[in-house]
């Protein structure tokens, strides 16, 4: 079969005819098996619409969710929509009052429960195998298009990148700091949060996140939180176990315990701009910085691997580091990029 076809590749014209002929024949026989349709329908059956609080100041009072157990457990995004016990509408139009049985803000996750049984549901698939380029389907109640008994909207695209959310401090509006799937489709619209991201076979691989701007570029992100990040917590909540709170954020330490420019012996150039670059002005003799051979006019680029946008972000990052610990800097000196370690004695 393969051999027969190879010559065809060389002749685009013939290829066209051949494909056309095939389509005509097979359309006639009805033999084609569109499994994408199956995957879409299966996903639609498992995605629900959630209506709750909000509706103020232009915020939508609805979002999406998906069934994770036959008894009516629903995973969704933890948001203001859940300020009151929400109403859930299944794809067949049935309406339920839901209760919130658990939530984990650090994952942007909440689990709801409706009183019914024998529902179709998503087993949480393994998302670790998903790499960039993976074809995906996103199913959600974006823009509240499907308001009544009609099933949620289905969109297709690919995973554009698998990466960590940029943890730039201050501007970020989610506590989630783990891995995300960046999508090449405009999936994160109002109402889409909590929707399902499934692969071509219809397996759940992630949950669409809330509308969020990328901290580094400033543009709207299209992303999903991988199912592997959610699996354990959803499992714990559904099983009624105590949820171990995960706090991925690095807390600020007390000023007397954390590092600061002073503990390291660094004097920066005057901070006069909105974002003054982290240029070293002077070094205290005998300080950590002096021993580490940091010099005047060095520009600090990274602190323990995290990007330093300016002096303010450098000062804030230092607050999260114990003043007894060594500090890894990446600096620019003229045109050289150098690693520098600052440590006690």
């Amino acid at each position: 079969m393969t051999k027969q076809c190879i010559p065809l590749i060389r002749s685009p014209f013939l290829v066209c005819l051949w494909v056309l002929a095939n389509q005509l024949i097979f359309a006639g026989l009805g033999l084609a098996q569109p499994s994408l349709e199956n995957a879409s329908t299966a996903a639609q059956n498992r995605v629900v619409k959630i209506y709750g609080a909000g509706g103020l100041a232009g915020l939508e009072a609805y979002q999406s969710g998906f069934l994770v157990s036959p008894e009516g457990h629903i995973a969704t995004a933890w948001s203001y929509v859940l300020d009151v016990d929400p109403t859930v509408i299944l794809d067949d139009g049935r309406r339920f009052d839901a209760t919130i049985v658990g939530f984990e803000p650090s994952l942007e996750l909440a689990v709801l429960k409706i009183e019914t049984s024998d529902l179709p549901f998503f087993p949480l698939g393994d998302s670790d195998k998903v790499t960039w380029g993976e074809p995906v389907i996103a199913v959600s109640n974006l823009f509240g298009i499907a308001t009544g008994r009609e099933p949620a909207s289905v969109m297709q695209g690919s995973v554009a990148a698998v990466t960590n959310l940029d943890a730039r401090r201050g501007t970020f509006k989610t506590p989630y700091r783990g891995k995300v799937f960046v999508l090449d489709l405009v999936a994160n619209n109002p109402g889409a949060a909590g929707g399902a991201l499934v692969d071509s076979e219809g397996k759940l691989i992630g949950m669409l996140g809330k509308e969020l701007r990328d901290a580094s570029t400033g543009v709207w992100l299209n992303y999903a939180i991988p199912s592997n990040s959610l699996r354990k917590t959803i499992g714990d909540i559904v099983a009624g176990r105590v949820v171990e709170s995960i706090d991925p954020s690095t807390p600020k330490l007390d000023r007397s315990k954390s590092h600061s420019l002073a503990t390291l012996g660094i004097v920066m150039v005057p901070d006069v701009l909105e974002s003054t670059p982290a240029y070293v002005d002077d070094i205290e003799p005998g300080s950590w910085a002096d021993r580490g051979e940091l010099r005047s006019d060095d520009l600090v680029l990274l602190l323990n691997g995290v990007r330093v946008e300016g002096q303010r972000s450098l000062r804030e990052l230092l607050r999260t580091i114990d003043r007894r610990d060594a500090v890894e800097l990446t600096i620019q000196r003229n045109s050289q990029i150098l690693p520098i370690t600052l440590k006690p004695e």
Partner: protein
């Protein structure tokens, strides 16, 4: 999986007569092909980080947003979008595929295409992309956009099809891959592993405020790699690339009209140096036949300053070939005028007729109403617009010879035009002073526009012709538009200028997106009243002497600069804060006048010389009151 194998498999599965691939299989196979293609180029793709940047955001995009770039040779040259150098920054860093960071220096910039060439010093063996001399691509072909993203420089890949070429005045390809801002500077390739272009932030003319606004929209622009290859050596030597300008003025009002005649040649321009003349009909540009001015524009768009092109023109039935060497700038326009109101009249000997001669202008003593202007120099005058463009592009202080038909006899009349900047014309023709009929104020509402607006104009305008239109933008705290117009009532009727007052949409301020709304209001007024389309101006209250500059003054300037083919005059306060819009060169095809209420040259604001250098006549109106402002508006139609 190798690239060829994956594509073959894809094709085989799709083409197999016995086993139609399911759409899911098709998607998996296509994903395999996309991954194989991207993997081949990813070693050459880098992240460009901006450190310690200071400046404004570019639309939604942060001024220090990390974007992509590509290694183009083993010596460490990196090509990227010039978005990384549009703001000053402390440092530029290139993050290679292995995650190592390197300080980069700027080698050269391509201003024409929005690219920058960077250089890093490294001992690492680099994996450069081989740029082809020629790109072959067809619309509909599958393409892949490749960039890198995040602190870890993760691969970032999007797929789509090729949408078209010759976009953005001939410089860019278009594709439908959805690319987020991190893709800028990234590579566009086909599934066979051929590099096609480098992704740039851009929107089509008038499409959006910021060049980054079309991210993720499915409209992606990329600069063809063969053009980059052609310029790369020049850039490596540190030479910036700029758009090549020629200096021709089209005759047709509409660039899509089927004709390529030249109305005028800009003074001391490459076209003039090469020997092109007004009246020449362009046949080919760089060997390609052209039918419309838009064709010429697209073809010229591909060339840079310093490039030479061949043009074939038809001059009085004879085809002549010219070699034109394009330059990076043209001497700015210094628009001139004769001081007449003309009309088109189909006549045996002439097509343009003088209707009124304006007092105290260069024509006052030499031209008469009823004169037919048959020729300017050796060139036949066929349209009023052609005559106007000739004057706009004319050399200052240089006498021109007109062939005038007066009482069926041809006469040669020599006139030295005056600069539009030389001042306001003293009076309107007497015939225009008798505006008959009643004038009224009516509210104006447009669908999908929340702005309040009202128009002061004639109840029925059967007898009135060639009125002017003044659009007044209101300030926070002003009365509503219909109320605001009351103080214009007498003068507007006396001088025959329709006045339209528009207020901002909301939030007590003007927003850039309202520029388009204002042009829609103008179009709507033009449709219902006999306003001469050339006599349209926009103003704010600061245009009158004694009033202070407010937000509406900046907005009026922004509107006039952006809607150059609708608005021909703008009057604002001399202390107006210049708006943040791109300053285009004034051009003879849509020329704009600026009126300021100042007397002396020393009173001009600091931004006035910038406007003059880009070809805008800045008229010192002295003490500007309602009457002189309205008179100026009506006389915008003078030639």
């Amino acid at each position: 999986m190798s690239r060829t194998l994956s594509i073959s498999l894809l094709l085989v599965t799709l083409l197999s007569p016995f086993a139609m691939a399911s759409d899911a299989e098709y998607r998996e196979l296509l994903a395999g092909a996309v991954r194989a293609t991207a993997n081949r180029f990813l070693p050459s793709i880098v992240v460009v980080e901006v450190v310690g940047g200071s400046g404004k955001k570019l639309g939604e995009v942060e001024q220090d947003a990390p974007t992509s770039g590509m290694v183009v040779d083993a010596e460490g040259h990196i090509l990227a979008s010039d978005i990384v150098v549009r703001q000053t920054s402390a440092s530029l860093l290139v993050v290679l595929a292995d995650g190592s960071r390197h300080a980069a220096t700027v080698v050269a910039r391509d201003h024409h295409r929005g690219l920058v060439l960077l250089k890093i010093k490294t001992d690492k063996t680099l994996d450069p992309i081989e740029l082809p001399d020629k790109v072959t691509v067809r619309t509909g072909q599958t393409i892949v956009a490749i960039g890198r993203y995040g602190v870890d420089a993760s691969p970032l890949v999007s797929r789509g099809i090729f949408s078209g070429m010759d976009r953005l005045d001939g410089i860019a390809y278009q594709a439908d891959a959805r690319v987020t801002a991190s893709f800028y500077g990234g590579l566009l390739v086909d599934l066979y592993g051929n590099p096609l272009g480098i992704v740039i932030p851009a929107v089509a003319e008038g499409g959006a405020e910021a060049e980054t606004d079309w991210y993720d929209s499915g409209i992606t622009f990329a600069i063809p790699v063969d053009v980059i290859k052609k310029n790369l050596d020049r850039m490596k030597q540190g030479n910036d690339i700029k758009k090549g300008l020629i200096g021709i003025v089209s005759k047709s009002k509409d660039p899509y009209e089927n004709q390529t005649e030249l109305a005028a040649i800009r003074v001391r321009s490459p076209a003039e140096k090469a020997g092109l003349k007004a009246g020449d009909i362009v046949k080919t540009v760089d060997g390609v036949a052209v039918k419309r001015h838009q064709d010429i524009r697209l073809l010229l768009g591909r060339f840079d300053a310093g490039d030479s092109i061949e043009m074939v023109v038809d001059r009085a039935g004879k085809e002549i070939t010219f070699k034109v060497s394009l330059s990076e700038s043209l001497p700015p326009l210094e628009p001139q005028r004769l001081g007449v109101i003309v009309t088109e009249s189909k006549n045996k000997d002439f097509n343009v007729e003088v209707v009124h001669v304006l007092d105290e202008t260069p024509s006052a003593s030499s031209l008469q109403p009823g004169d037919g202007i048959a020729k300017i120099g050796q060139l036949k005058v066929e349209t009023t617009e052609g005559l106007r463009r000739q004057l706009i592009a004319a050399e200052p202080k240089k006498a021109i010879e007109l062939t005038v038909i007066r009482e069926k006899e041809a006469k040669q009349i020599t006139i030295t035009p005056e600069s539009i900047e030389s001042g306001l014309i003293a009076s309107i023709p007497d015939e225009w002073k008798e505006t008959k009929g009643e004038w009224e104020i009516k509210a104006l509402k447009l669908p999908d526009a929340a702005n309040e607006a009202a128009v002061l104009g004639p109840k029925s305008d059967d007898e009135l012709k060639r009125l002017g239109l003044l659009v007044v933008l209101s300030n926070p705290g002003d009365p509503e538009p219909s109320e605001l117009l009351k103080k214009w009532q007498t003068k507007a009727k006396d001088l025959g200028v329709v006045v339209c007052a528009i207020s901002y949409e909301s939030n007590e301020r003007w927003q850039p997106k309202e520029i388009e709304v204002i042009t829609r209001f103008i179009a709507s007024v033009l449709k219902r009243t006999s306003v001469d389309p050339m006599a349209v101006a926009v103003a704010a209250s600061g245009a009158l002497s004694g009033e202070k500059a407010e937000a509406a003054d900046s907005m009026a300037l922004a509107v006039a600069m952006s809607a150059s083919r609708t608005i021909y005059g703008v009057a604002v306060s001399d202390s107006t804060r210049p708006p943040a819009v791109r300053l285009r060169e004034n051009d003879a095809e849509a020329s704009l006048q600026v009126l300021l209420p100042v007397e002396k040259e020393s009173e001009l604001p600091v931004w006035a010389p910038t406007l003059q250098k880009t070809g805008y006549p800045v008229i010192r109106g002295g003490k500007v009151d309602q009457e002189s402002l309205l008179r100026w508006v009506r006389l915008l139609q003078a030639v």
